[in-house]
């Protein structure tokens, strides 16, 4: 499939700030399941900083915007050819050993309820079966409801609530997988949902679990499937913050207003 991505993020500051610095993971991953045909990231009035491929295989790009500045816009546009590999992250180069993805972080900390959920995989025949069972269990335990949780909601809180969005599903699956001694990580990217490119869902997140003999495999409990050719992978981390496509700060007081618009569409062939 060929997907087009149109992703515009804007920040407006209540008072002009003295400068903005950001770190982006906004470039499609390089692996057998996807190839960027064209791709561009621009920042209004921005100075491109250092860029490098990190140990997880992601392209990380620094940006800065000298102040005073009242608003900035980050525009991501491109076309990606994708292929359905049933969730397999085949041909991806990375330097971080899988053991590092057993380390817990605050949003993925296991409480008693998550530990109980992790036990649903105890009868699994092999690690792949265990991963599938955990994904199904998370999907069953946390219903999709936008607005139910916030960006800092933890996996344990989302499970207690029984509701959440893709970030909560991903955190919960990471927590239970690590509890079952399976290395797991948070993946951020895009999803063509419903075929109509409707907003909101197009900026998506899911989980990858490392399975002996197969390597990293994607699981999307929010949609009860493994990532296929509707998905574009950007980057990964231990949790949502660690894998965030945009991390940044503005130097100056006052509030900022964030506005995001994402559209992912299939090109008719």
């Amino acid at each position: 499939m060929i997907l087009t991505v149109d992703h515009v993020t804007s920040y407006r500051y209540a008072q002009p700030v003295r400068g903005v610095v950001q770190s982006h993971r906004l470039t499609p991953s390089v692996f057998d399941g996807q190839t960027a045909l064209d791709w561009s990231v621009s920042v209004s009035d921005g100075l491109k900083g250092g860029g490098f491929r990190d140990g997880a295989g992601d392209w990380v790009q620094g940006w800065s915007v000298p102040g005073p500045v009242s608003a900035i816009t980050i525009t991501v546009r491109g076309t990606v050819r994708t292929q359905d590999l049933a969730g397999l992250l085949r041909g991806h180069r990375e330097a971080i050993p899988r053991e590092a993805y057993l380390n817990e972080t605050a949003p993925t900390r296991v409480d008693a309820a998550l530990a109980e959920l992790a036990a649903s995989a105890s009868g699994a025949s092999d690690p792949l079966d265990a991963a599938h069972r955990l994904s199904v269990a998370v999907a069953g335990a946390i219903a999709y409801r936008p607005g139910a949780t916030r960006s800092h909601t933890t996996a344990a809180e989302a499970l207690a609530l029984g509701e959440g969005v893709c970030q909560d599903h991903a955190h919960a699956l990471i927590a239970v997988a690590r509890h079952a001694a399976l290395p797991a990580r948070y993946v951020s990217g895009y999803l063509m949902s419903g075929g109509d490119g409707s907003l909101g869902e197009a900026a998506h997140a899911w989980t990858e679990i490392w399975v002996q003999g197969l390597g990293w495999i994607g699981f999307d409990p929010a949609n009860a499937c493994c990532p296929d050719d509707r998905y574009v992978r950007l980057g990964s981390g231990l949790d949502a913050q660690d894998a965030a496509p945009i991390r940044g700060t503005a130097r100056g007081p006052g509030a900022e207003v964030l506005d995001v618009a994402v559209a992912v569409q299939a090109v008719q062939q």
């Binding site: 900083g49 990380v60 053991e99």
Partner: protein, 470 residues
């Protein structure tokens, strides 16, 4: 009471390096000694060298007690220590480059993967990165203890930002001012080249994008930090700017320092801030001490950070047990300095042994420092031992244990004269394009009779440390 090696009086005679000090003490009447001690304290007070003690309350500007009786090594003793310390510093850096690279030592089964990659000091943000000159730890503080004429053991390694070197320099300065005669009678190797060697070491690891004479700065968390005096002292002696996070900013591909003449590019940052706080865009987002975007500049070759983020994975007390094997693995050499035998409580057999022998052992937290959270078995009550056993059972992986070593003693001025007190030694090895070690270090002394805890946060003091020219 364990019997210890006395570095001055051994087998009924005075050991040669201390020969001239015997007459010196004998010729010093009590009144003169008290006057000199008061003078030393006034000097320390005036230069402002104080040490804030965490968690003990009281006066945060308390002086660290200085003992005037020097600790002395012969040139030959030092030559061996120097070779051993440099060997260790090379191996530790080779280990760091390896575990953030291909991880050969893990693949070879010599160090368990989880000890490295599940270590809280492992930074996956630098995986795959080789810092300039292949150096992660630019200042290696190796803590040594002595148990006999030829017996030295490494107690622990400090690969992040070992503190205390300002005491090495100040102790010497004050001794020279108060007792110039001693420095005429004894041929003592100087240590005052340390700041320039440190600066040269830092400049030698300038980043790839630096094409001029590198600008070096020292980054401090600020004046409320217990080692702030040392930060300003070293910056001053090196002739570099002392900066806080808010003085630096990222723009384009570089880090810049605000100056009265406008922004100036910074090439090398000697940071005295922990990894977690240096860049809120990469590590703790709530940090106000760091520089947003610093890690992106670092990883793309625009700035060097000393010590390199992630260096701490080489110096925790569980990784420590593998250092002799690192020396064999990377250097193909036998270790010159020995480790103290160590039991890992995370290992069930070791843990059982430790719990059965707590009364004879020293137990420490894997990530602990400053002498906190440790048990010295022989000096503890049954209640303290039982309480500590419960903590070990609750989280065995967090503890290691070692035999209680009979630390050597050096004569020390006490209330009513001179008496032996236990000491350790921290030399500061510099690693850049070259490996340098000034002849000396920080000798810490347990001022309480019989005490084996030398940490300044636990009432320890310091001494001037001499290496005699051959």
């Amino acid at each position: 009471m364990i019997s210890s090696f006395n570095e001055m009086y051994h087998n009924g005679t005075v050991r040669p390096p201390y020969a001239r000090l015997e007459d010196w003490t004998k010729a010093m009447p009590a009144e003169l000694r008290q006057m000199k001690q008061a003078e030393a304290e006034a000097l320390f007070r005036r230069i402002g060298i104080t040490f804030a003690v965490y968690g003990e309350g009281g006066d945060p500007d308390r002086l660290i007690p200085f003992d005037m009786f020097p600790r002395v090594f012969t040139g030959a003793e030092w030559a061996r220590l120097e070779r051993g310390i440099k060997q260790r510093a090379r191996a530790l850096n080779a280990f760091l480059v390896d575990v953030y690279g291909r991880g050969e030592i893990v693949r070879a089964g010599r160090v368990p993967a989880q000890l490295v990659y599940r270590n809280e000091a492992y930074e996956k943000a630098v995986a795959g990165f080789v810092p300039p000159k292949g150096v992660y730890s630019h200042i290696v503080g190796v803590d040594l203890v002595r148990t006999g004429p030829d017996d030295f053991f490494v107690l622990e390694d400090n690969c992040r930002t070992p503190s205390g070197v300002s005491y090495m320099l100040e102790n010497r300065e004050i001794m020279m001012r108060m007792f110039p005669g001693l420095f005429r009678e004894n041929r003592i190797e100087p240590v005052d080249s340390y700041p320039q060697l440190l600066r040269r070491t830092l400049a030698s690891v300038a980043p790839v994008k630096c094409d001029t004479e590198p600008t070096v700065v020292l980054l401090t968390p600020g004046h409320f930090n217990s080692a702030y005096y040392e930060h300003s002292f070293l910056a001053d002696l090196m002739g570099v700017e002392l900066v806080e996070g808010q003085d630096l900013f990222v723009e384009g591909e570089f880090v810049w320092m605000r100056t009265t003449e406008g922004p100036r590019r910074v090439d090398v940052i000697y940071r005295r801030i922990d990894d977690a706080f240096i860049d809120p865009l990469c590590f703790r987002p709530d940090s106000m001490l760091g520089i947003p975007g610093l890690m992106d500049v670092y990883r793309s070759g625009g700035v060097s950070i000393c010590s390199a983020p992630g260096a701490g994975v080489a110096d925790d007390k569980a990784v420590y047990t593998h250092v002799p094997d690192m020396i064999r693995f990377y250097l193909g050499e036998e270790p010159i300095l020995q480790n103290v035998p160590t039991w890992q409580c995370g290992n069930a057999d070791d843990c059982a042994y430790v719990l059965a022998n707590l009364g004879d052992l020293v137990v420490k937290e894997v990530h602990g420092s400053g002498g906190y959270g440790m048990l010295v078995g022989p000096g503890s009550t049954a209640g303290q031992i039982a309480g500590f056993a419960a903590r070990i059972r609750a989280n065995p992986g967090n503890y290691i244990a070692q035999p209680t070593l009979a630390l050597s003693t050096v004569p020390t001025f006490v209330e009513d004269g001179v008496a032996p007190r236990h000491v350790d030694l921290r030399p500061y090895c510099l690693v850049g394009e070259r490996i340098e070690l000034v002849p000396g270090g920080l000798t810490r002394v347990a001022l309480k009779d019989g005490s084996l805890v030398v940490n300044s946060s636990q009432g320890g003091g310091v001494k001037d440390t001499w290496v005699l020219a051959e």
